[in-house]
Every structure is written in structure tokens, then in C-alpha cells.
């Protein structure tokens, strides 16, 4: 596990400068994902916005950052714009910028204030903004989530932190009925611009109750959006987009990704909540993944490249709704899909994604969709058992080999 992060860290530290056309887009930066791998040249069409296929997207969005594949490896450039930080610091930066920008943004959660956040995401904010804006709540998830939603009905923009996503199961009623459905049942009178965020996923031997993946439970609630961040860059961008969005957004972070280091731009940027990220373009197979599994996939991709395969890796980021545009284009190119996720097999994100792809892109598939997910078991405590619960890179390699036969 540590090797993956080091590998990633190494890749990111070699990132070259982006061709940011700051003159044209003051707020957005176009950033190529290809910087993760030193072998790619940064290519970006000069400031031209990707054609707005939906119609009417906001100006300051960073739309799909497509990287072109280069043949020759480039040396890392000397000048390194931007600053380096860890993922939780990136989240904090995004949070702080939004709180600075809009006085209605407030944070509420357990230990977010004086303690600074159990994962240090809100460190220093209570001293800066006061106890009311960064509110330490008692351990009462159901009611402080409800309080956040009530405050949102009155015009505030609260960010509700669950110390662990699993605790938000206690607030399921509030999230499902009041958060997701109020805009609809009131005929559009009330908007609920909350952000519900917290770490989830399988950690390091945290036990069954603290290793839950709630995206599968929340995914069918109508009216909410779900995003999962995986790098400091998209963590900050998605946090800002989630806060600015007028819809309730659930931002899934991962316990093991908080210490990822990456260089992110100095300029302000906001990402599109509904967009998937092309991590590595390829030709042979489309691998769809999100959150921590992205790193497992990238590690497997190294092995696959050595074996001669060319996987296209897409970090879907938006768990609800799926970015079927990017995914569809990829499938039309490669005709094979592998989904790698950390959710349970039954009723997980992968299951929905499989259904969505089959419904929409069935004709383009050469092989059945393979979905690698965690086992349908409570996460055991023992380290070896825990490893077997989640998908490991060798399994991914084997699946791709099977698929591409």
C-alpha cells in the first residue's frame, strides 16, 4: 500500500507546468491529468473551452481535462507553479476559500471546532471564524444533520461532517427524506445547499463498523448528488463545487487518502461535480474506478503496460449521476469495460454502473462487463482478511487479461 502512495507521490512531484491560460480564464485552470505520469507531455488546447454538450455550464468550470498520449517521455520542468499539499490540507483550503467568499457557509460536525477535526480538515477554522460558524456538535448525527438541513432551508449553506461516513447511517432519515426530497415535495420552494462529507471506506484494520462504504446506500436517494474525491486536486475542486452547488451533495472522502501529497495550482479553480476524470488514456480496455481503488488500478496499470496492454483508466468521481458521456466515449473506443470499486458486490456503485452501461452502450461491448468489488462481508479486523476483502492489483491484472483475451 505504501508503495502505491510513494509511486504516486513521485509522479506528482515531477509534474510539469500546466498550460494555464490565465488571461482568459481567471478562475479556472486547465490541468492535464497526464502530469501524473512523467512520460506524458502536457497538452492543452489553447484556452478553448470544451464544447458545452449539456448547454449552459458556468463559465468558471474546469471541464473535462483530456490528456493526449505522448510518445516521448519528457523531463520534469524546472519551474513548479502551484503549491504542494496533502489531501486534507487541500480540502481545508477549499473549505476556507469558500467560507471566506460567502458568509453563509458554516461547518457543523463532531470535533470540527476546537479539536480541529478528527482528520484535521477543519484545523484552525474555529479560531478564525468563531464557534458558531465552525460548530462543535454533540454526538447526535440524526439531529445535527437535521439541523443543518433546517439551516439550509433558511438560507445558510452548511457543511455537515460525519466523523466517519458510517455514522451517517443514523442520519439516513434526514438525508433521504428531508435533504433529498424537500426541494421536490415543496414544489421547488426550498433549496437545500448542504454538503455532507466525511471519510469512509476500508481503512487499516478499523473494524467492520468503521469501514463502511455508504455510497451504495445513498445512491438511490433522489435529489442528491454524490461525488468521491481521490487526489488533492480534485478534493479541493470538488469541495468548492459542492459548496457552491444549490443541490445537496455528499462528498465521499477516504480514510487512507488523507495524506496524499500533490502539487495543486495557486489559482482558484472549481471542478464540475458531474464529470469523470481521465486518468490514463488507452486503447484496449476501459477501467472505471473511484476513490482509493484508483491507486490500486494505477498500480495494476503499470504491470499491465509492462505486459503490453493499454488500459484506459477513468476515475468516475461523480457517483450520482454517472458521467455517461465520458464513459460512453471511452467504451465506444475500447469496447471492453472493467469496473473496480470498493463497494460491496450487492447493490453497490458498480452494480448500478454495470446496469447503466449495459442499458446504454450494449451494442458497443465486445465482452461482458466485469465488475470487481469488495466481498459481501463485514470487514474483518485481521489484516490479511481485510486485504482479501478489497480488490487488489493482481486481481485487476488478472481480470484485464481475462477480458482482453
Amino acid at each position: 500500500m505504501a508503495s502505491i502512495f510513494q509511486g504516486v507521490g513521485a509522479a506528482t512531484s515531477l509534474s510539469s507546468s500546466t498550460s494555464i491560460d490565465t488571461k482568459k480564464f481567471h478562475f479556472c485552470s486547465r490541468r492535464s491529468r497526464s502530469e501524473r505520469k512523467a512520460s506524458f507531455v502536457v497538452v492543452r488546447s489553447g484556452g478553448a473551452k470544451v464544447e458545452n454538450r449539456i448547454g449552459g455550464r458556468a463559465e468558471q468550470l474546469v471541464t473535462n481535462a483530456v490528456a493526449a498520449k505522448a510518445d516521448t517521455p519528457t523531463a520534469a520542468t524546472v519551474s513548479k507553479p502551484g503549491h504542494e499539499l496533502l489531501l486534507f490540507e487541500a480540502l481545508r483550503e477549499g473549505l476556507e476559500e469558500e467560507m471566506e467568499r460567502d458568509a453563509r457557509v458554516c461547518v457543523m460536525g463532531e470535533d470540527v471546532g476546537h479539536y480541529g477535526g478528527s482528520y484535521k480538515v477543519t484545523r484552525g477554522l474555529a479560531e478564525k471564524y468563531g464557534d458558531l460558524r465552525v460548530l462543535d456538535t454533540p454526538i447526535a448525527e440524526n439531529s445535527f444533520t437535521g439541523m443543518g438541513i433546517g439551516a439550509a432551508m433558511m438560507g445558510l449553506r452548511p457543511i455537515i461532517e460525519g466523523m466517519n461516513m458510517g455514522f451517517l447511517l443514523l442520519a439516513f432519515n434526514q438525508i433521504s427524506n428531508n435533504c433529498g426530497m424537500l426541494h421536490y415535495t415543496s414544489g421547488g420552494q426550498f433549496k437545500i445547499p448542504v454538503v455532507i462529507r466525511g471519510p469512509g471506506g476500508v481503512g487499516r484494520q478499523l473494524g467492520a463498523e468503521h469501514s463502511q462504504r455508504l455510497e451504495s446506500y445513498f445512491q438511490s436517494i433522489p435529489g442528491i448528488q454524490m461525488v468521491a474525491c481521490s487526489t488533492p486536486y480534485n478534493a479541493k475542486g470538488l469541495m468548492k463545487a459542492a459548496i457552491r452547488s444549490d443541490n445537496p451533495v455528499i462528498l465521499f472522502e477516504h480514510v487512507l487518502l488523507y495524506n496524499l501529497k500533490e502539487r495543486i495550482p495557486d489559482e482558484e479553480y472549481v471542478l464540475n461535480l458531474e464529470e469523470a476524470e481521465m486518468v490514463r488514456p488507452g486503447e484496449h480496455v476501459t477501467i472505471l474506478t473511484y476513490s482509493r481503488m484508483r491507486y490500486h488500478v494505477m498500480q495494476a496499470a503499470k504491470t499491465l503496460v509492462n505486459k503490453g496492454y493499454d488500459p484506459e483508466v477513468i476515475d468516475i468521481r461523480s457517483l450520482k449521476p454517472f458521467d455517461l458521456y465520458t464513459i460512453g466515449n471511452s467504451i465506444k473506443k475500447t469496447h471492453r469495460v472493467l469496473i473496480v470499486e470498493e463497494c460491496m458486490r450487492t447493490g453497490g456503485i458498480g452494480a448500478s454502473l454495470t446496469a447503466a452501461i449495459t442499458e446504454n452502450f450494449h451494442d458497443y461491448l465486445d465482452a461482458p462487463i466485469v465488475c470487481l468489488s469488495s466481498q459481501d462481508v463485514p470487514t474483518p479486523y485481521a489484516g490479511t482478511l481485510e486485504e482479501w476483502t478489497v480488490v487488489q492489483p493482481p486481481q485487476i491484472v488478472a481480470a484485464v487479461e481475462q477480458l482482453c483475451r
Binding site: 455550464r57 433546517g150 433558511m154 415543496s186 420552494q189
Partner: protein, 473 residues
């Protein structure tokens, strides 16, 4: 000799019985008397006192709210006249003569200046606080408004009952008749900037907040003209511009929301409060105590109002709660027990609570009220309580009757005028129903509207995603 006997002496029962027999004799003699004789008036006026006394004692209201205090304010003769009007036609010539004078001196609904002091039926009981006084100031205009508004509410609920039975309203329909005083009294004490949030028994509260009958009926029938565009239904009435936040189906879930509203009011330093209403059934929910703890911790201007109608769906309160003193359940949070069938008690309590909440933080109000219908339309309401109980409460504690008696006591309107108001209510309700029936059902495209708000590329579409189904606002 009778006319020299002072009235107060006759109030003692011993003399009363003798006087009654004497008055009866006089009465009978007056009946048999030959009216052609000129001196019948002399006998008549002397016997009048006893007749009137007899009638007064016989027809006087046993209910405790009409205390002597409130009745003694008008002159006894006019009071007697009013009562005498109900009696035999003997006094007809006198009554027609006096009624014209009464019309001249009676203050009607437009009078806002005279203050009438009304006493609440029972004193308030406080927990950790000093209860407010029993005397409530009101004006004739307010009394008439109370009557009119409550008549409209009552009529609306009865009409909803019949609409449900004719299958125009489907699903769940929870009716508020019997509890109107809570809504009316609360509205009289607060402004439209103070927030109200309640559970599913929300039709009348919506009306009290300024909602129209058309919006209510259209929403109940699922039409486009409804307050939630037909997409909410009976349990999801909202009115944002009047700070009415609904309308919630899950029992108790609105209490944390209400504390959130209070939090936002405190955050924005507004001088307003939030009334979070729930029932005696919801009072046992854990999230209520969680929210109360937070509200007390941060001094949020939240007023928790427990509408205790003594039955949580089909379970009586003593079977569901170990401690049915809901106003005491807050422990460190002060509480007040209020007679919820008395609109003036509710008004006084809400005024008191608003002042308290703005200064000291949350307070619990327990409104002792009653619902005549069952929990919802599918519940007959008689399997867990007796019909005698329901009719008993209706006779003795009905909020509209109470206001009616007060109106008569203060001579603000005649019976006919009140009946006219009720007829007007009926008419307007029928008109609203007819108009609501004409309103169309929501369009198919409305299925996907209001799921999301626009921004950041969000679309709203059906599951097959092949087509953009709705444009976001």
C-alpha cells in the same frame, strides 16, 4: 313589593326557590292575564325581574371560562335583554325596541380600539419558569377574526373529510379540527417572519400562515394550483414567503429541522423565533431530545410546541409515555402547560414564549388539545376512545364555541351574524373546491422538475438518459 327587593338578595338559594315559585306564579298569572287590560304592564315589569332571574340562572353557561368577571362587564339589563331574546315571545315588543338600540351600541368586527380583557380557562402551569398571567387583552376585531378564521379552518377540514370519502383526496389525510385554537392563537402572537414548522397535520397551520383555500384544496387533490404544485400532498404544505416550513411526514423529523431554522435565525442575528410543533406521539422520539440539547446548549430561539391531543395515532398517551407531562420533559429547559382549546391561552403562551426564547433560549409549550377526527382518514377514531369522550369535549371545550360565547357575552355580533359568517365560510370553501377541481393535474414533464437545482452541469432526466426531460429552474 317585588320590585323593591334587591337583585343580589335573590341570588341566595333559599330566597331563590321562593322567588322562583313566586316568579312562576307571576309568570303563569301573566300568561293567563288578559292583555287587553291596561295595567298588565305593571304586573309584567315586576314579574320581569323574577322571570329574567329564572331564565338567567336556567340558561347560564356552566363552562368555566365565562366567569362572572367577563359577564359582568356589560350592563345586566342588556345582558338580560340578550338572554331574554332567546326566550318566549312575551318580550317581543320590548326586544324589538331594544334591539335597535343594541345595534347602535354594539361594537362590530372593525373596532380595534376597545380592549377587552379575557381570562383564560385554566391558569398556566410552569416548569422552571414563572407562568404568565391569566388575563389576556384582546379587541373586538381580534375576537371576530378568531371566529372567522376558525370557522374557515373547521369548514375546510370537514370539506376535506368529504373529499377524501369521495376519493378526490388519496393517501393520507390528517385533519386538524378541534385543534384550531393552537394555530389561531399562535398566529395572533407572532409575525410572519417567525418560522413555524410542523408535522403532517398542517392544513390549518398553512391557512393560518396566509395560505389560500384554493392552494390547500388543489394540493390535497394533487393539482397544479397547489402550494407544492401537486407534488407534495397533504403532508407537504409549505409556504416559504410566510416562513412556513411544512409539512413533514416522518414523526419527529421536523424537530431537528426546526432547531436548524432557529440556528439560522441566530446565525443571522435575526430577532425572530421558530415554533417547532410536534405531537404527543413524537414527544418520545430521541431526535427531539438531541435537538433540545443542542438548542439549549447554544441558546437557539427555538420554541418546541407539543400539541398534546392525548393520542399518538391509536395509542393513548398514558400507554406510550412514562411521563405524560410533556412540558416537564425538557428537564433543564423551561416548560409551560397551556389549554390548547382556548385561543387566548395559546396567544398568551406564545407571546410569553417568544419573549423568553429571544432572551434565554428554548422553551417547551405543551398545548392540551383534542382532535375530533381520528388520527387520519383511515382511522375511525372510536376504537381507542369512546364517542362520549369526543362529544363531551366537543360540548365543553370546543374552541369555536368558546369564542362564540365570548362574542355574545360582549355583544359583538348576533347569532345570525355568526351563522352568516359560517355560511360564508362554507360558500368560500365550496368555491375553492370547485376552482381546485378545475385546476389541471401536473404535466408529465413535472415529474422531473424540482429534483435538482440548476448549476454545474446538472440535468434532470429519466433513467434511460436518452432525452433531457426537464429544464431546471
Amino acid at each position: 313589593m317585588w320590585k323593591h327587593l334587591p337583585l343580589w338578595k335573590l341570588l341566595s338559594t333559599v330566597e331563590l326557590s321562593t322567588s322562583i315559585t313566586k316568579s312562576k306564579a307571576i309568570f303563569s298569572s301573566a300568561l293567563n292575564f288578559d292583555y287587553s287590560k291596561p295595567h298588565y304592564i305593571k304586573f309584567f315589569s315586576s314579574g320581569l325581574y323574577f322571570i329574567i332571574l329564572f331564565l338567567f340562572l336556567f340558561f347560564s353557561d356552566p363552562s368555566p371560562n365565562l366567569t362572572f368577571q367577563s359577564l359582568q362587564q356589560p350592563k345586566t339589563t342588556t345582558d338580560a335583554m340578550a338572554l331574554a331574546r332567546r326566550s318566549s315571545g312575551l318580550l317581543k315588543p320590548l326586544s324589538t325596541a331594544s334591539s335597535s338600540s343594541l345595534l347602535q351600541r354594539r361594537p362590530f368586527s372593525t373596532d380595534d380600539t376597545t380592549t377587552i380583557t379575557v381570562e383564560t380557562s385554566v391558569p398556566f402551569t410552569g416548569h422552571n419558569c414563572d407562568p404568565p398571567s391569566r388575563s389576556v387583552d384582546t379587541t373586538p376585531k381580534e375576537l371576530m377574526t378568531f371566529f372567522t378564521d376558525m370557522a374557515f379552518m373547521r369548514r375546510m377540514e370537514i370539506a376535506a373529510d368529504s373529499l377524501y370519502k369521495s376519493k378526490l383526496i388519496r393517501g393520507f389525510c390528517h385533519l386538524y379540527d378541534g385543534q384550531e385554537a393552537v394555530s389561531i392563537g399562535m398566529e395572533a402572537a407572532i409575525t410572519k417572519k417567525d418560522c413555524i414548522i410542523t408535522a403532517y397535520r398542517d392544513h390549518c397551520i398553512f391557512l393560518g400562515r396566509g395560505g389560500t383555500l384554493l392552494e390547500s384544496f388543489a394540493e390535497l387533490m394533487g393539482r397544479q394550483a397547489g402550494c407544492s404544485r401537486g407534488k407534495g400532498g397533504s403532508m407537504h404544505f409549505y409556504k416559504k414567503d410566510a416562513c412556513f416550513f411544512g409539512g413533514h411526514g416522518i414523526v419527529g423529523a421536523q424537530v431537528p429541522l426546526g432547531c436548524g431554522l432557529a440556528f439560522a435565525q441566530k446565525y443571522r442575528k435575526e430577532d425572530h423565533v421558530t415554533f417547532t410543533m410536534y405531537g404527543d406521539g413524537a414527544a418520545n422520539q430521541g431526535q427531539l431530545f438531541e435537538a433540545l440539547n443542542m438548542a439549549a446548549l447554544w441558546d437557539l430561539p427555538a420554541i418546541l410546541v407539543c400539541e398534546n391531543n392525548h393520542y399518538g395515532m391509536g395509542t393513548a398517551e398514558w400507554r406510550a409515555a412514562k411521563s405524560p407531562a410533556y412540558y416537564k420533559r425538557g428537564d433543564y429547559v423551561p416548560g409551560l402547560k397551556v389549554d390548547g382549546m382556548d385561543a387566548f391561552a395559546v396567544k398568551q403562551a406564545c407571546k410569553f414564549a417568544k419573549e423568553h426564547a429571544l432572551k434565554n433560549g428554548p422553551i417547551i409549550l405543551e398545548m392540551d388539545t383534542y382532535r375530533y377526527h381520528g388520527h387520519s382518514m383511515s382511522d375511525p377514531g372510536s376504537t381507542y376512545r369512546t364517542r362520549d369522550e369526543i362529544s363531551g369535549v366537543r360540548q365543553e371545550r370546543d374552541p369555536i364555541e368558546r369564542i362564540r360565547k365570548l362574542i355574545f357575552a360582549h355583544d359583538l355580533a348576533t347569532e345570525k351574524e355568526l351563522k352568516d359568517i359560517e355560511k360564508q365560510a362554507r360558500k368560500e370553501v365550496d368555491e375553492a373546491i370547485a376552482q381546485a377541481k378545475e385546476s389541471p393535474m401536473p404535466d408529465e414533464s413535472e415529474l422531473f422538475t424540482n429534483v435538482y437545482r440548476k448549476g454545474y452541469g446538472v440535468e434532470s432526466f429519466g433513467t434511460d438518459r436518452k432525452e433531457l426531460r426537464a429544464t431546471l429552474p
